[in-house]
């Protein structure tokens, strides 16, 4: 196969944002191309245009020098362009086979045979008859890949495929991709992870704020040069200085905490034990869906547990709800900013009052004291560098980074003893990540503690004093972060053992 895919002067404009500004690129089979850029750089828009999900305002696409008009995903599939989305496009409650047959024109038997031969060839092993929700993230991705391979694609587009994978699964994915590439499939790999670009790809195109910044061969690039192109400025990364002066005064102790659920979408927790001292940050690593969300909910009081399982500041608080726990000076920053932390349709200042019902300042005899709350909101906005001056704005219109700063600010302004946060920098750009990281380090320096549940190992290694890994609801032993490497974490996250 000799495939040639050309994008010519493609533009896509949304109200208030130019997602793709006159992009031209050319791809040839036999190579693996990286499309690199930060969140919001326009990579996803571009690949959605290539896969027919989005129709561009301007510009053309050529496949093998023939113009390609893509009006829907079906057109792209028929033209043998396969796409694996960042957020899986699978039907959770349907079986694997049902997921695969739904967009296929073949009959049951033929399709079954074809799937089996694909799985054999690439060494996949997936039970076709179980519902997709019982699969691991890596397996779900393989189902998506099989779905593309069934149609013998000429082009395969992978949109941030490794964000949910273990290191083991990532290396399996890479070897599959190399195999596809050798068989003549043109591969376009979208990511913001520089290491992956360096190890997998042959050529790299960098996007920033909707524009194409550069196209180059990987051999001519280094991680630093790519990072600067991607961000557009020289970045200094923060790193915590591990000091020995921290107190050894215990702040929170979790003992024999278990949780079992009948809900197939939830993970059971098995006998969790840990302690966090004052001024310390405990990092909890793991692939998403291994019980982090349940652990967060139990720690924050969304799920009530046994009274004695959580000891905070010498009080047993396992049976208290989040509001009561806040009175003991705990603070929470949940994973989903718009669903769990803030109410999107409410204004910024109203959201700020949400975690503080008890404050006598905010409410007089059941009436809202708007002026006090607004004052408070303004203080948070200036103290925590939230980039807006309109506290009447509905919080759904804040960018992810600004909303996260607002939430962290809201939690910290009451000066809690412990902040529990879950993926605080998920989906943020480098600038906002840096700010949040600096803030978290500052909290520790003020002798306050953090429990950081995160799926980003680099973040954990940067911020934690102690690290543990959660896998299938079990917590590994707790390690000092200076004796942990990302390789070790990767093994534990995949369910392996280390000495």
């Amino acid at each position: 196969m000799n495939t040639n895919l050309k994008i010519s002067n493609v533009s896509k404009i949304y109200p208030g944002c130019i997602a793709n500004d006159n992009i031209s690129l050319e791809f040839k089979s036999g190579k693996i191309y990286a499309l690199l850029g930060e969140n919001g750089a326009g990579k996803s828009t571009l690949v959605k245009i290539l896969s027919g999900v989005i129709i561009p305002d301007k510009g053309e696409i050529f496949l093998n020098n023939k113009i390609l008009k893509l009006k829907s995903p079906i057109d792209a599939k028929k033209k043998k362009i396969g796409m694996v989305f960042q957020h899986f496009n699978l039907f959770e409650t349907l079986s694997v086979f049902e997921n695969l047959i739904i967009d296929s024109d073949e009959n049951r038997e033929n399709l079954h045979e074809k799937i089996q031969s694909i799985m054999k060839k690439y060494n996949f092993s997936i039970d076709l008859d179980i519902p997709v929700l019982n699969l691991s993230a890596g397996q779900k991705q393989k189902v998506e890949i099989i779905r593309c391979l069934i149609r013998n694609p000429e082009v395969l587009i992978m949109d941030e495929p490794t964000s949910v994978l273990t290191e083991q699964e990532t290396s399996e994915l890479f070897s599959s991709l190399r195999q596809f590439s050798m068989e003549g499939i043109l591969i376009i790999y979208i990511t913001h992870k520089l290491k992956e670009v360096m190890s997998l790809c042959d050529e790299v195109a960098v996007m920033r704020k909707g524009k194409l910044v550069s196209v180059s061969k990987i051999v001519n690039e280094k991680i630093e040069t790519l990072a600067n192109k991607m961000v557009g400025q020289n970045l200094k990364t923060v790193r915590k200085s591990i000091s020995n002066e921290r107190s050894s005064e215990k702040l929170i102790k979790i003992s024999n905490l278990s949780f079992s659920s009948e809900d197939p979408f939830e993970t059971n927790l098995v006998n969790i034990n840990f302690e966090v001292n004052r001024g310390e940050c405990l990092g909890i690593a793991g692939i998403s869906g291994n019980g982090q969300s349940e652990l967060f909910q139990i720690l924050s009081g969304e799920i009530i547990s046994d009274k004695n399982s959580i000891e905070f500041n010498s009080n047993f608080i396992g049976n208290l709800n989040p509001q009561e726990r806040r009175e003991y000076l705990m603070a929470f920053s949940p994973e989903d900013r718009l669903e769990q932390a803030a109410i999107p349709q409410m204004k910024i200042f109203e959201n700020v009052a949400l975690n503080n019902f008890k404050s006598s300042n905010f409410f007089n005899n059941g009436l809202i004291n708007e002026n006090k709350i607004k004052e408070h909101a303004k203080k948070i906005i200036s103290d925590f560098n939230v980039n807006t001056d309109n506290i009447e704005l509905k919080s759904q219109f804040l960018s992810g980074g600004n909303l996260q700063k607002l939430i962290i600010g809201r939690e910290l302004i009451t000066s809690p003893d412990l902040l529990i946060c879950f993926n605080p920098t998920w989906g943020l750009d480098v600038g906002a990540i840096n700010y949040i990281h600096k803030t978290l380090i500052k909290i520790n320096d003020q002798n306050k503690s953090i429990i950081l549940i995160s799926t980003d190992t680099d973040e954990l290694l940067k911020l934690s004093d102690k690290i543990s890994v959660i896998h299938k609801g079990k917590l590994s032993k707790i390690m000092n972060s200076d004796e942990v490497t990302s390789e070790k974490l990767g093994i534990l996250m995949g369910g392996g053992e280390i000495d």
Binding site: V53, I54, P73, F91, E92, T93, L94, I102, D103, D263
Partner: protein, 310 residues
């Protein structure tokens, strides 16, 4: 006391007859809900079907035109719902409630001229076999074609959802409209068709009431059956076979409480009247307790609006 076996057969027959409209409406609504659309207008669509069927029968004298006309009326009124919720993206719950209120009102208005007019006899099948076997014959033979269709429908619905490609697409759309759309499935079209199908079945259920079950027009004659049909769908965990069970229990208790009132059992009438509602819900809750199965069978996108942005 000697129980006449033929009498028991007759009671079972009357139970089955009273559950027909519930089965029809529930199976229609089940398909609608499986595609992710919550249509609370079942009661309204049924009553529209009831008046349309009866009016067409009186006007044209043709039962065939009346039955299909009632289904068409259900389709038409559900088209309003589909247009509002799928094209104009209105809220499913509010639109469905409005549809019910609209249906009850407009049926009463049209129905003014039809009050007191006697219905027509609806032909039954296998009438000659009615006395062939004691007990079984009255249950199996001598019913209208709608009756037989209703008892086949849960099995047809189950087969359709589990075994056919279109059924798979309906389930997929209900599970994740975004994924379905990205796979090139026309989510809006699928949902439109499912809503219209639900409307047709509700229209048929209404026609059964006004043309076969009690052949006359009485204002508000559906009497809350639409709401029971909706409840049956939820409590059956979107399983058509369990709808059949639930409808039979409800129909059974409705009939039995009539008989108990007739015999003069010393229980307040109001309690007896409420009994079918309470017991049906309790039974369905008990047989559908497996939370894992509930999560697997509940359409994840139920009641959520979908629109494609590009």
């Amino acid at each position: 006391m000697i129980i006449d076996i033929n009498f028991v057969g007759l009671i079972i027959t009357s139970i089955m007859a009273s559950s027909v409209p519930l089965i029809l409406a529930s199976c229609g609504e089940l398909i609608t809900e499986r595609s992710g659309v919550l249509n609370l207008g079942v009661e309204g669509m049924m009553i529209i079907g009831a008046i349309s069927g009866f009016a067409l029968m009186t006007a044209t004298g043709s039962l065939v035109i009346a039955v299909f006309g009632a289904m068409l009326a259900g389709v038409l009124i559900s088209t309003i719902f589909a247009f509002l919720t799928q094209t104009l993206i209105t809220n499913h719950v509010a639109t469905g409630l409005a549809l019910t209120i609209f249906g009850i009102g407009i049926s009463a208005m049209i129905g003014k001229n039809f009050v007191g007019i006697p219905g027509k006899e609806f032909p039954v099948l296998f009438e000659s076999l009615k006395d062939a076997i004691p007990f079984l014959s009255p249950i199996l033979f001598g019913h209208s074609i709608v009756f037989y269709f209703a008892f086949a429908l849960p099995f047809i619905t189950s087969y359709f959802l589990k075994k056919t490609k279109i059924g798979l697409i309906v389930r997929a759309v209900g599970d994740s409209p975004d994924s379905a759309s990205n796979q090139g499935i026309n989510v809006r079209l699928v949902r439109y068709l499912c809503i219209l199908y639900g409307g047709a079945m509700c229209g048929l259920a209404g026609a059964y009431l006004s043309m076969i079950y009690t052949p006359q027009w009485i204002e508000n004659m559906t009497g809350g059956r639409g709401w029971i049909a909706l409840a049956l769908v939820v409590f059956s965990t979107w399983n058509p076979i369990k709808i059949l069970i639930g409808a039979m229990i409800f129909g059974g208790l409705t009939i039995i409480q009539f008989h108990m009132q007739a015999i003069g059992v010393r229980i307040p009438v109001q309690f007896l009247t409420a009994l079918p509602y309470i017991v049906t819900i309790i039974v369905l809750v008990v047989i559908s307790r497996d939370s894992r199965k509930i999560r697997l069978s509940t359409p994840s996108s139920l009641g959520k609006s979908f629109y494609k942005d590009n």
